[in-house]
Symmetry: C2
Subunit: 501 residues, 2 copies
């Protein structure tokens, strides 16, 4: 048994190493690769993806997992978890043929390059044939699996195991029912003044201030780094090398700051896994939703809180003395919580954000069902923007071309995690404050030790040893629900906008 | 036959893709990787190295090559070359067991990390056990091959195919016999004044000036980039993505400038392969010596020429107006050609440089022969420095720890290419000027089209289709010899130092 678990770990470490190399190809493609490298990189990503898949589906690995699964009682608990998770991954992976993996990674590498150009020229038509093929490939992928009621379920299950369309559709309908009137109530009130956040904000100072804050959060730059990219993301090559990315607009610091804090939340989660899990498939987030809850918690519950700005305002003003000459911490707090129906998901405030996400989720379902054709996607996008948010993009660059997801992965399963993340974040943050009352007082001093410690113990440490639902339930004493999120919004924005409940 | 050559290219492209991913792990380790990533990276490099080796030695590939080798008449000339080179690589690779490859790459990844620390603290003892193991592993590697007279021959053959200890020992003895008196004659004359090249040279301006020059050389930044590292190198992920690196000392611009021009020479070679060779093993340098000839040619024959500085001096002074206020182009030309016996190979002038190289070459032989123990390496190094150059490093950081080579690869076969490169560079440059008389006049205007065109046609295009010796012979009309190099030195330095021949 001892020998077999060692052999399993060796094989799994090999797969993790190859995945890390593959992640590095991706990271480099999105940060430093010169344009001339694109064609070869597409081929390299496809080749390495195929090799990963080949190793991850090796028959010997399958036999080893079958063997070990029959004797999990004899294993240490963490090893039993490893066998269970690895076997789940194996059983998923063997259903996907090598040739599909190769075709799909070559396809998305090309699509990603084309998307960059299409977005620059606001030309959705240029990338539409790629997206149509992505939809076909996504359906093809879903068809490799049995027992799912909807094609999207097979895709959702990759990111948020156990979550289904049947469960999300009513959940999202209920959320939307609460959010739309809340947005309307807020937009009837005078808007917060955020004019002073547009002006001259030197790039280096934005980066430097953003990084000082995430160092305070506890993000460890000796085990990570931050680089510039088009669409910020976090990527890890092991627990000791977890990298974040951002983008900077010199005329508005919000893009760089909140994306840095958001990605650092993802980064803290990945840096916070139990070190004993490194090099195994347990050193990963429990689900897309739980991962997103960590980024949203640090971005919003922390970075958009009054306590945060009471502490960090002096440093913020010191970085940008001209732009911020005439304002105070409270003005910044109000400005960064301005609620306004807008075009770009990643710029959206906490109240309207989930409306952007649910729009995408519903369009994914429609594309997979065949109810919507790719050529009609921009119109469908714009119509739903009009209905839900009352605003319509002037060009597709601010519409259907804004997110990387459909140009770098499957259509389907890509967005529900953002909404689940918001719900989990509010629920976890409320529980953390209830369990560790010193969190507020620390935050007011720019300290986050208590919050970080609680998250490490209750969320980060576990990696994939438990499901997202089990982690949230154990941490908060209740299964995931939208209640804490809606309470959080009503309390915060009720006070900010003088609403009467 | 058509099907088999297509299948061969598919298999070889796969190996090239995996090598590119492996190169990216290395590039990242030497440029951007945070310290926390080191342990996992060592494992990743080893895993990917093993996968590359496994694919490169696949029995099916061997059968395909045997098949095709029997019918090269039926192939296009370039495909016949591909079969020949790929078969040579295959036959070498199958002699090296998978387990060795895995052990060796894990070992050098660790050694590389330890070397960084040992160099910072000038503590050779800290890395000596690693080097001793490297020597053992190098001997073990050599023993996989038959038919070589000396263990170093097996290692030299990897880098400079066909070159042997038996040929290099007399060649280097003859070179040394000419160089030592030349250095002595020069050092009896007054030294050039290079004091104005020490001072305040802002980092960004050094990088910017260095890059402007390499753009003029023809290095294409849309198919490459330059990053900072500890020990500059060039690395390619395909003909469309060839990256150079440099390091900057704010008190002296020579390190950054000449390393940038040197690496750009390597880069021009790799960017200049026939595009039809991309993704095949023919898209590589013909030998270490020929690769080095391209870097040295642009660094020295171009970058240390009077014509070069006559053109670029105004831009150089504009970048550093304070430091260069009182000097002219001629003063810079003399300063960058100051001959002084010094400690660091990469800083050495053209005249003393080969003495540094031959020192290392001889120490490699002695270590492999067992005539020298690793513990005695610093003393042996220092004694030879005393004998040949009359200077001795104060600490091993400026001695045996200065070069990356023995800490990132085999001991043996690593240095002869530098000396061969100097010989080839002088021979090729003389031939280019003889064939294309407009080269001088263009250089004086900061233009390099004629030189670039000649090198592309006679050297770069071929990739590995011909041997280095064949390329030099065809390009210059004579087999490689030290004559043109010694003529170049005598003419240039005779004039600079007023020597009478």
């Amino acid at each position: 048994m001892e020998t077999r678990i060692t052999e399993l770990k060796r094989r799994l470490a090999e797969v993790e190493d190859l995945k890390a190399a593959s992640h590095l190809l991706t990271w480099d493609q999105a940060t430093y690769m010169p344009p001339g490298g694109a064609a070869a990189r597409a081929r390299q990503v496809a080749t390495l993806g195929a090799v990963v898949h080949e190793r991850a589906t090796d028959a010997g690995l399958g036999r080893l997992l079958d063997d070990l699964s029959a004797h999990t009682d004899a294993l240490a608990p963490v090893d039993a978890d490893l066998v269970r998770v690895a076997r789940h991954d194996f059983e998923r992976a063997v259903r996907v043929p090598d040739a599909y993996v190769r075709r799909f990674s070559a396809h998305v590498a090309h699509t990603y390059e084309n998307w960059g150009k299409a977005r620059d020229t606001a030309d959705f038509a240029a990338v539409a044939p790629d997206v149509a093929r992505t939809v076909d490939l996504s359906r093809e992928y879903a068809a490799f699996f049995e027992g799912f009621a909807h094609p999207a379920d097979a895709l959702i299950d990759v990111e948020d195991p156990g979550v289904t369309v049947a469960r999300l559709v009513p959940l999202f309908a209920a959320l939307r029912k609460e959010l739309v009137p809340l947005v309307q109530a807020i937009t009837r009130r005078p808007a917060a003044d955020d004019g002073f956040l547009t002006g001259d904000f030197p790039r280096r100072r934005q980066l430097s201030f953003g990084r000082k804050v995430v160092e305070r959060f506890g993000y460890d730059f000796t085990c990570g780094r931050e680089d510039l990219t088009r669409h910020p993301f976090t990527i890890a090559f092991g627990i000791g090398d977890v990298r974040i990315t951002t983008r900077v607009r010199p005329e508005d610091p919000r893009d760089a700051l909140f994306s840095t804090w958001h990605e650092a939340g993802h980064g803290l989660y990945e840096q916070g896994f139990d070190p004993a899990l490194d090099g195994t498939p347990l050193a990963a987030g429990a689900s897309s939703g739980l991962h997103e809850s960590q980024s949203r918690l640090w971005e919003n519950q922390v970075g958009r809180s009054r306590l945060f700005w009471e502490h960090f305002f002096p440093a913020f003003r010191k970085a940008f003395p001209v732009a911020l000459e005439r304002v105070d911490a409270e003005a910044v707090y109000r400005a960064v919580n301005k609620v306004v129906p807008s075009l770009i998901r990643t710029d959206a405030d906490e109240v309207t954000y989930n409306l952007h996400v649910m729009l995408r989720f519903d369009l994914e379902l429609a594309l997979l069902d065949g109810r919507l054709q790719v050529a009609d996607l921009p119109d469908a996008w714009n119509a739903r923007m009009e209905t839900d948010l009352g605003v319509v993009p002037r060009t597709d660059a601010d519409g259907v071309l804004q997110d990387v997801h459909w140009y770098f992965g499957h259509v389907g399963g890509q967005f529900q995690g953002y909404a689940l993340g918001n719900l989990y974040a509010a629920q976890l943050f409320a529980a953390a404050r209830a369990h560790r009352p010193e969190i507020d007082e620390q935050m007011q001093r720019g300290r986050f030790g208590a919050l970080r410690g609680w998250l490490r113990d209750h969320v980060w440490n576990h990696g994939r040893r438990r499901s997202a639902e089990a982690i949230v339930t154990a941490a908060t004493g209740a299964p995931p629900s939208p209640g804490p999120f809606l309470d959080y919004l009503r309390e915060k924005y009720g006070a900010l906008y003088g609403l009467t409940g």
